[in-house]
C-alpha cells in the first residue's frame, strides 16, 4: 500500500536568520523537497517614493541611504547622478574621482558581506563573516573619516560631495589598497578549496543564461550566468571609461559562480581604486555651485548605475518645482528574486537557504 502523503506548507520568515531581513518565503514542500516557493515582501515598506514627493531634491539623499543599507554610498551616487542628469549639472573633476573611489570601496564592502553571510548560510557559522568583517571595518573607518558615519553616509550631494577628503585619508586608503589583495588571497585559501563548500554550492541553484536575461537579472547574478554585462563597461557613466578593469563572468550560473564572480569583482574594484588615486587631481572644488532649493527644468530622466547588487536606477519626473513630481527607484534585488522559483524547485530546504543567500538581497531596497 502506498504511503499517503500530502503537501506541506512552511513559512520561512519574516523573522528568520537566513532571510537577511524581514522577508517571508512561503514554501510548499513534499517531504524535504521544495515544490513551490512564493516570496512575500513589503514588511519594510516605508513609502520612500511617496515621501520623496514632499521633499526637496537634497532632502531625498538621506532617504536613499536607507535603500540598500549595505551599500548606501552607491545609492547616494545613483540618485545624485540622476538629478544631475535632469538638471544638467556638471560635477567637478575631483568630486568624480572621490565618487568612484567610494563607489568601489562600497562594492568591496558589500561583496564581503554577501560572501560572508553566504558562507554563514552554507553552515560555516559566523567565522567567515567575522573574517570579512575585519576588513569591512577598515572600509567603514575610511567612510567615518570623511563623513563621520559608518552605515548611512549621506555624503554625496547633487553636484559633488559634501566635503573634501581629510589629510589622513590618502595614507589610510593607500595602506588599505596595498594590504587588501593579501586578505583576498587568504579568503580564497580558506574557502575556495573547501570540500564541503564546493559540494554544497557547485551545481546548486542553476540560473540559465536565457532565464537570467528574461527575468531582467543584473549585477553578479546576471554575470554569473555567463552574460558579460556591466554598466560600468557597456554604458560607462561618470568617468569609468578612464579605467582599465575586467568584467568577471561565470559559466554555469550556480551558487559557486555567483560567489566567485563577487570575489573577482573585489580584486577589480581595488584595481579601479588604485588607478583613481593616481589620476585624481590633488586640489580643486568638490561640489558644483548648486543652490539649496534648486528647480530642475520640467521633464523626466532615468539615471542608472552599476550598484554592488546590480543595476540601480532612479526615474525622476520634475514639474519645475523644488520637489520631484514622481520618483521611482528601480531595485535590482527585487528583480533578481523573480528567478528564485526556477532556481529552488526540486532542491531541499537546506539548499533553498544557500540559493537564497547567493542572491544577496537587501530588504531595504526590495521594500523601499
Amino acid at each position: 500500500m502506498p504511503i499517503k502523503t500530502e503537501q506541506f506548507y512552511l513559512n520561512v520568515g519574516p523573522q528568520h536568520p537566513s532571510t537577511h531581513g524581514v522577508f517571508r518565503l512561503r514554501l510548499s514542500l513534499d517531504g524535504e523537497v521544495v515544490t513551490d516557493v512564493e516570496p512575500i515582501v513589503g514588511y519594510l515598506h516605508r513609502g520612500i517614493e511617496k515621501l520623496a514627493e514632499t521633499r526637496t531634491y537634497t532632502q531625498i539623499i538621506p532617504l536613499t541611504d536607507r535603500l540598500d543599507y549595505l551599500a548606501s554610498m552607491t545609492d547616494n551616487v545613483a540618485y545624485c547622478m540622476a538629478v544631475e542628469k535632469l538638471a544638467g549639472i556638471k560635477v567637478p573633476e575631483r568630486a568624480e574621482y572621490i565618487r568612484i573611489i567610494f563607489s568601489e570601496l562600497m562594492r568591496v564592502s558589500s561583496h564581503m558581506m554577501a560572501v560572508g553571510f553566504y558562507l554563514n548560510d552554507c553552515g560555516a557559522f559566523f567565522t567567515p563573516v567575522l573574517y570579512m568583517w575585519r576588513e569591512r571595518e577598515k572600509i567603514l573607518d575610511l567612510f567615518d573619516m570623511v563623513c563621520g558615519q559608518r552605515l548611512l553616509y549621506n555624503y554625496m550631494r547633487v553636484g559633488g560631495v559634501s566635503q573634501d577628503l581629510p589629510d589622513e585619508f590618502m595614507p589610510a586608503i593607500k595602506k588599505f589598497v596595498a594590504e587588501m589583495p593579501r586578505y583576498i588571497g587568504e579568503y580564497n585559501q580558506l574557502i575556495k578549496q573547501n570540500e564541503i563548500f564546493l559540494a554544497r554550492s557547485k551545481g546548486v541553484g542553476i540560473l540559465p543564461r536565457e532565464t537570467a536575461i528574461n527575468i531582467g537579472a543584473s549585477g553578479p547574478v546576471l554575470r554569473a550566468s555567463g552574460v558579460k554585462w556591466d554598466i560600468r563597461k557597456m554604458d560607462p557613466y561618470s568617468i569609468y571609461d578612464r579605467f582599465d578593469f575586467e568584467i568577471p563572468t561565470g559559466e554555469a550560473g550556480d551558487c559557486y559562480d555567483r560567489y566567485w564572480v563577487r570575489m573577482q569583482e573585489m580584486t577589480q574594484s581595488l584595481r579601479i581604486i588604485e588607478q583613481a588615486m593616481s589620476q585624481m587631481p590633488a586640489k580643486g572644488p568638490v561640489c558644483a555651485d548648486v543652490p539649496q532649493f534648486f528647480r530642475p527644468p520640467a521633464g523626466e530622466t532615468y539615471g542608472y548605475i552599476e550598484a554592488p547588487k546590480g543595476n540601480l536606477g532612479f526615474y525622476i519626473v520634475s514639474d519645475g518645482s523644488i520637489a520631484p513630481y514622481r520618483l521611482h527607484i528601480y531595485p535590482p534585488t527585487l528583480i533578481n528574486i523573480t528567478a528564485l522559483k526556477d532556481m529552488v524547485i526540486g532542491w531541499k530546504v537546506a539548499d533553498l537557504i544557500i540559493i537564497f543567500g547567493s542572491m544577496d538581497v537587501v530588504l531595504g531596497e526590495i521594500d523601499r
Partner: protein
C-alpha cells in the same frame, strides 16, 4: 556605450508591422497605443535588428488626466536602448495588457504598479498587491491620495 535608438525610425517600423499602434514617436520617446502593447512587445523582442531582450525599468506616473507607463528596453546583443511609453486615461478600472509573458522582468514591477497606482495588467499570471497588504484602501502613489 548603450545607444538610444532613433525613436522615429523605430516608430515607423512598428507602425508598418502593426498599423495604427503608434501615437507619437518624436523627442526621444515612443508613445504607443495601449491596446496593441502585447503585440508591440512581441515585435520588439523578436524582430531581427531590434532584439530588445532585456526589460529594465517599468514604472508609471500619475498626471491626473492620464497615467503614463514607461518601459525601458535594452538589447544586450546590439547594446541599444529604447524608452517605450503608453498612456491610460481615466481614474477607475484602468487596464493594460501585461508584458510578463514576453519579459518576466515585469512580474514584480507590474504587481507594484497595480499596488501603488491601481492599474490592472490583463494577462499577468498572479496580479496581487506587492508591498501593501490585501484590503488596503486606495493606491498611495496617485497624486490625489493624501
Amino acid at each position: 556605450m548603450t545607444v538610444a535608438v532613433n525613436t522615429e525610425e523605430t516608430g515607423k517600423r512598428i507602425a508598418e508591422a502593426i498599423p495604427g499602434s503608434v501615437v507619437s514617436s518624436d523627442k526621444g520617446s515612443l508613445i504607443v497605443d495601449s491596446k496593441a502593447l502585447a503585440q508591440i512587445a512581441d515585435f520588439l523582442k523578436n524582430t531581427p535588428g531590434m532584439e530588445f531582450d532585456y526589460l529594465t525599468v517599468l514604472t508609471a506616473a500619475d498626471y491626473l488626466d492620464y497615467f503614463e507607463v514607461v518601459y525601458r528596453l535594452v538589447s544586450l546583443k546590439n547594446n541599444q536602448s529604447l524608452i517605450l511609453k503608453t498612456r491610460v486615461y481615466g481614474r477607475e478600472n484602468l487596464s493594460l495588457p501585461s508584458v510578463t509573458p514576453v519579459w518576466r522582468a515585469a512580474y514584480y514591477q507590474e504587481r507594484e504598479i497595480f499596488d501603488l497606482l491601481g492599474i490592472k495588467f490583463e494577462g499577468h499570471p498572479d496580479l496581487r498587491r506587492l508591498l501593501l497588504w490585501e484590503g488596503f484602501n486606495g493606491h498611495p502613489l496617485r497624486r490625489d491620495y493624501l
